[in-house]
């Protein structure tokens, strides 16, 4: 690990959540790589190196979370469109639940939440 990366605590966090952001974007519609990267880029701080999305997509495809189809574009070569699978949806649902809990816990400890504490059974 490079010192620079160790200094930014969000680097690890970003790596952990980005694939679920991709899955979430794909629940609305099928997207091709460039569009997907642009959508992610619209949210500040989500992606630092856009190129790393492609290995991520490749990994998600091999994991069965997304499927790809080639489609003709109006101009230029056909494009690879990504669609979420049932297994991807399942993974996203699981993460969403975990994330809410995690986010609330961090907010509660940091005092940045909206007043609701950590729920424990």
């Amino acid at each position: 690990m490079e010192p620079g990366e160790a200094q930014n605590p969000l680097t690890q966090l970003r790596r952990g959540v980005i694939e679920y952001c991709v899955l979430a974007l794909l629940t609305a519609e099928e997207l091709y790589g460039f569009d997907l990267v642009k959508r992610l880029g619209e949210s500040e701080g989500l992606v630092t190196s856009e190129g790393t999305i492609y290995p991520l997509l490749s990994r998600m495809r091999r994991a069965g979370w997304v499927t790809t189809t080639w489609r003709e574009s109006e101009s230029g070569p056909p494009r690879r469109y990504y669609a979420i699978t049932r297994s991807g949806q399942h993974a996203l649902d699981g993460f969403t639940t975990e994330w809410r809990r995690f986010r609330d816990s961090v907010d509660a400890v940091l005092g940045t939440g909206e007043g609701h504490g950590v729920h424990r059974g």
Binding site: E2, Y32, D35, G51, T52, P55, G121
Partner: protein, 285 residues
């Protein structure tokens, strides 16, 4: 289109990426190269890239080729180290207690597989490092065969009583009397003993299993979080057995609610046993 192919900036970038991606192997390198190439072409097509400044900005946002390849190597196969210095995309989860849950299930529900199920449970109990020796002894001794053994025992007790009847006829052949006799070839349990055995064999194991699983959960929570490399298996870490026991692990319910649910679940287990025993007893009358 022509622009992306001939531009030395793009050529240089793709060449560097291709070289860095060499360790990925042909398939994944090809896929990665195609993806990045497509991205650049799409950027040109969309008009986002129209001169050298915007092209440099695009390549900048794409990131260093080495960094992209590092992300590609992080595929959870575990076979590839990270010589390029990028940290693995690792998430963390709390330590799992699949072993303990499986052990508890084998000792209770699993005992339906007579002897074998119980034996497997005992072996699993002793291979756990989250229970004390005392707890392991309790788990071993409290389940002498598990609930299924109680079922078999009850079946034997009920099934060995055989009854017959004979008719006494008068001179005209009419039935004047029916004599019934029951021969008990085995033994039958007095009610108090039956009840005690029922509690010892069915209720106690379930309660003990519940308590032990909860203790294991608490101890596992005190352990360091387990790193999970984002892998093809992803979040599918829930096996069937764990799902069956999810109730006890959930943070969404209070302890009281868990006990109530456990009691209901136990009844679901117990009622069929009682029904079968009842049926066997009825048939033997």
């Amino acid at each position: 289109m022509e622009f992306t192919v001939v531009d030395p900036l793009v050529e240089d970038y793709l060449r560097r990426l291709d070289a860095a991606a060499y360790p990925l192997g042909d398939d994944r390198r090809g896929e990665l190269m195609a993806g990045i190439r497509e991205h650049i072409e799409a950027a040109v097509e969309s008009g986002e890239v129209h001169d050298e400044v915007s092209l440099r900005a695009l390549l900048d946002r794409l990131g260093d080729p080495e960094e992209i390849v590092a992300a590609a190597r992080d595929d959870g196969s575990g076979a590839t180290p990270y010589p390029l210095g990028a940290p693995a995309a690792v998430t963390y989860r709390r330590a799992g207690i699949g072993l303990e849950i499986t052990a508890a299930l084998f000792l209770t529900v699993g005992s339906v597989l007579l002897v074998v199920g119980w034996l497997v449970g005992v072996v699993l109990v002793w291979s756990s490092r989250r229970w004390t020796v005392g707890e392991k002894l309790i788990a071993t001794l409290v389940f002498p065969g598990g609930p299924a053994a109680a079922l078999v025992l009850a079946g034997i007790g009920a099934g060995v009583t055989s009854c017959g009847s004979s008719s006494v006829l008068d001179a005209n052949g009419d039935v004047v009397d029916v004599q019934s006799s029951c021969v008990s070839s085995g033994w039958s349990l007095p009610p108090w003993l039956g009840l005690t055995l029922f509690v010892a064999w069915v209720i106690v194991p379930i309660l003990v299993a519940g308590v032990l699983v909860m203790r294991a959960r608490r101890r596992a929570d005190a352990e360091p979080l387990v790193p999970v490399t984002v892998s093809p298996r992803g979040t599918t870490r829930w096996g069937g057995l764990e799902i069956a026991a999810v109730l006890l692990l959930s943070d969404q319910w209070t302890r009281t609610e868990k006990w109530i649910a456990t009691a209901i679940g136990s009844l679901v287990l117990v009622v069929p046993i009682v029904a079968v025993v009842g049926l066997l007893s009825f048939r033997s009358l």
